[in-house]
Symmetry: D2
Subunit: 361 residues, 4 copies
């Protein structure tokens, strides 16, 4: 299913080479004035060709809003945005899949849909489907921002080159604002050059590289989220894994914390001007599934793009025999860069649902 959410539902549709892609957002509060330029800015952060580390293919993803908005203000009715695919070729396609690409959903999609799924450009599995997700997230984050809630992510690593991590106990508004608007988001911008060099090296060797993205949500009210299965971790992870290439998520100290002792990992409470805070933030702003008021921090693992140009071994599903495959065309050597606003967007959709549940929105 490509539908997600309870109080605010999104329903994402489209295939890479179909007529169009888009999203319906149902359950938005009425009366929210939206800044469309801000939405387009977020979409352009994800769009290819905006950054030299990404695929050079230009793509214009201006969404058309069909419903739910009047005078740039939400009406409370479902908001539908459509992005047309401009690369559609007409004609009767064969839709023939012989040799599934390693690391892609070609084979699993073929079995899941009995060979009827649209395989052109990855169909519904295409990373292009994250564009409507960014649209939905851009809408939600504007509503959240008015409540003082900010969402921003950065490239926490490319291959083995790491950025600094968020200081979970104290994240400045300036940092959040800077990261949420940039296209190569780093806390320590001095790492950019090395990261770009690594990506370029992978591109030249017809290979790709993975990385991690760290995301923070600041300004969360205390007491949002519910045990056991509507906890913030449950909700965020259930949408985040909808982003192609995400293969892991950790909150707060996460896997590193699993190596620690309780005396090291516990975050002590203290009063800061009448507000309960913790001195460290190994809990990632979440205890028992519920927000503590500290920044929510999570990191996601992004696998290296499976689209590589070197020759790979695979199978031929027609002849039922082993085979080889060479994929031509231009590919993103590193999807991590463009995935940053997608992660933020999915988080925004998650957070607006979490807040709606406890009537705090």
């Amino acid at each position: 299913m490509s539908s997600w959410g309870n109080d605010v539902k999104i329903s994402v549709f489209g295939e890479s080479h179909g007529n169009g892609i888009g999203v319906v957002i149902d359950g938005l509060p009425a009366g929210e004035k939206l800044n469309l330029d801000e939405i387009y800015l977020q979409m352009s952060r994800r769009a290819p060709g905006k950054d030299k580390a990404a695929t050079p293919r230009a793509e214009r993803d201006i969404p058309e809003i069909l419903s739910g908005l009047l005078n740039d203000t939400t009406t409370g009715a479902p908001l539908c945005a459509v992005i047309r695919n401009t690369n559609v070729r007409s004609g009767d396609y064969g839709n023939v899949l012989n040799c599934p690409r390693p690391g892609h959903a070609d084979y699993t999609g073929y079995v899941r849909y009995n060979g009827f799924n649209d395989i052109r450009g990855g169909g519904h599995f295409s990373g292009r489907l994250t564009a409507p997700l960014v649209f939905a997230g851009a809408v939600c984050r504007q509503i959240l921002e008015k409540k003082g809630i900010k969402i921003a992510a950065h490239i926490s690593s490319i291959g083995d080159i790491e950025d600094e991590r968020f200081n979970g106990a104290d994240i400045s508004c300036e940092l959040m604002d800077r990261l949420s608007k940039t296209t190569f988001g780093l806390i320590d911008q001095s790492r950019e050059e090395k990261m770009r060099a690594l990506i370029e090296e992978c591109r030249l060797s017809q290979d790709s590289i993975g990385g991690t993205i760290e995301c923070a949500v600041t300004g969360m009210p205390v007491g949002a989220g519910s045990p056991m299965f509507n906890g913030i971790e449950n909700v965020i992870s259930s949408i985040i894994f909808g982003i192609p290439a995400v293969k892991g998520i950790e909150f707060g100290s996460g896997f590193d914390g699993a190596k620690l002792r309780g005396s090291q990992n516990n975050d002590e409470f203290y009063y800061d001007n009448g507000v309960v805070k913790t001195r460290t933030n190994n809990h990632g702003g979440i205890l028992g599934g519920i927000s503590s008021g500290m920044p929510i921090i999570f990191r996601t693992a992004i696998k290296p793009t499976p689209s590589i140009s070197v020759k790979q071994r695979t199978v031929d599903l027609n002849s039922k025999s082993d085979s080889e495959l060479e994929i031509h065309g231009r590919h993103d050597p590193c999807i991590v860069v463009r995935a940053v606003p997608v992660i933020e967007s999915a988080a925004a959709v998650a957070i607006i649902n979490i807040l709606s549940e406890v009537h705090k929105l």
Copy 2:
């Protein structure tokens, strides 16, 4: 919310010091003969006092099945199992929370429920609530096992002591069977002594230690799961984070894979006696959210139990000032051991839902 699932829904209830805890499982197929001894075995793997590495407090968790089972066979009606709490003291409790324990949900639960949640023993946040989850999982895994699907997990690390990892490309039935019945599950059993020594050291120093659990699902049919938000990763993670102390999850090569190149991380397809397989299993049995037929592999990060006996700093919510806290009583120095069957159980509930969606059950 403590309800989860679509085709097979579980609804977990109870508080640590209330009258009882339990689970309703709605949507089970009718006509499934259940082996109750197998269910009790799974519950005893989680029960405290079964292993010297866990808390010494004895607890008898024999569930009473109220409905849904006739002649040990599912009737198709909701199956409700209740485990009575035998430690309930009568009388009018004050339910006063002064000093929230660091790392626990005391503070967030207090705010979430306006101070009305049952704080005795952690209330609904207690790890004791995983007992009904194990019950539900034990029911589901028996149904899955008849379809040839096995689920087993092992302690992949305690602190920085690691077990071997599953060889995701080839996991033997013997290993799965052994792990799914034991209480200190390791692939390389020679690591047990060192792990136990570390846990004992933490216990003696009134501290605790975290770890990781790796879980495998073998025998999955190809083509289960759906993009984008009903992918196997989405579904498994959304239930796994319902287990207290889980702070991270990764599938296949996960965070390690994020350091690799596409040429290293892609898994090549080949034919093995007419069956499509991959030579490696960095994808963890999931591509595009859909099962590939290879074992599903995931690892979870378990934080060190926040219940430690050393003095800790916290706040006093009454006086609104900083304070200190010493927690007495016996605690699990390492919850990882007992969490193994809980992880397996949550996975079983997830898998039965994933299979139901595509009519493969």
Copy 3:
């Protein structure tokens, strides 16, 4: 599925002759003080033997609350109540169904569950399963009552003997309070004698009789409910049809309104001390799925109990041939009387969900 609800979910379990029946209510607000005597009062309105028009078999349905309540106050955790079945015979039952009773779910349940459903006493299809629903409703209506929302129903007809209808434009608190506590609820109490005589006549002729129940909800805030599929009619009907024997529902003027002209059926707005009201209430308090602030009014059709003692023709599923059937034992000649609090209860669970959606609770 026997689970229902979004913000406040109920999960009903049990079979007529199993160990027990009950309900889990998940998502209740914390801090609600409950009057248990009021809950038992509601349950006794539904219990058999409380009224001479109902089955004479005594039944004690005192629920045990396992969780979610501390000092009679909701904790915010799932509230589970269990009612034990005291009529359970031990031993290995044959569970053999030969001749399905006309009008019952014997045949459809047999096919649905491949013959594995518990057929004793109707199993999960038994009217006894409405007891936990009344429990859940009794909890919800107490919470609603504090917001000024009252729910009451009356027997609007038995066979062709009709009670007056609610004056939807003006329903007094006194009437609501009286109806919500009685066991043979009528607006015009002078009709009771004739109705009882008809029921007695049906009992003596080993037959049964149907009827209708009209329910009102007063004190609703304006603006609750959502188009298109979360409208108040959608939500109420989706739970009401969970009550066995309900075969129809209409809101406001309903089927009678379908015979009218717009100029007759439209309800004119007017200001009453600054509050928008309508002079008539053909819309049943709902326009576009959303509450208008006028009383919500709906009527349900209750079919005559299919349990009758006269000889009936049916089939023998074993021999696959036509057959005859005589059902012995004491049956309710008219289920309508006891169904009144069940209808109110289902409405209460519906309303608490409707209000939760728009953050008005």
Copy 4:
């Protein structure tokens, strides 16, 4: 919420005077060849101007399919269809509501959405939103038809002029096929003239008239649907009330059956060539929420269109005083005729979900 369904979800969007309306259908099986002409036929049955009893305003509702279909065959990905609104005027609208129309959602929508809903043409409450519902139903019914399941409805009454009712025990394929293609569907076509005369009379008097629609589903397999809350009545009613103007629904003998005795209303089983059938169909094909294999029969009450041209009393929300209102323009004097395919369509979406639940699709 304008989203509905579990296994097959629909998400309807749009406002009467926005850029476009449409629907996303998520969860359709892959590989279903669709006949687009059949879909357009169904949409034209609902379209205004196709029948002289409906509004004369021409409207071209050719949907554009953006995704989910390749070579006229479902791909398994969400299918999105968009119908553009051609009557959109540009410019900055005032969106001012002074005097809510009696019987419309103007007032309730105004409160629900704090005055931000698009009131032009009824916005999201407009009957125009049933066009995407008919699209979705037309897709689903083609899939059902291949399984031998037919859905057809007829005008069972206009005002007090009644058509014959379905003979629920025996409905011919010819009747089903005829009704499912016509625009003024009657079992006894001799009633058409009188009905049209009544509608014309209402039109001339600037008034409107209500009616009822009876719908049948034939070819249902036995054993679909689940107690208690996923029963066929629950599921059908929860979507049917999403159609504007529906104020009541009854299954089988419904409200008439509530006047009967058990011996009259019970349907006896018999074997017909090895198939279990009932001689009468007062149960409307549903027992215990589950299909019996007999035709599913339900009737809905459609209120008279509230849009009438005679002067009506209402309030002025600005001046907070009583006021009067005259609505100009052309209106449907009787929406019942065009609602027939909408009822069928909603039933089709319901049935495909009911069948998916029990893996019978």
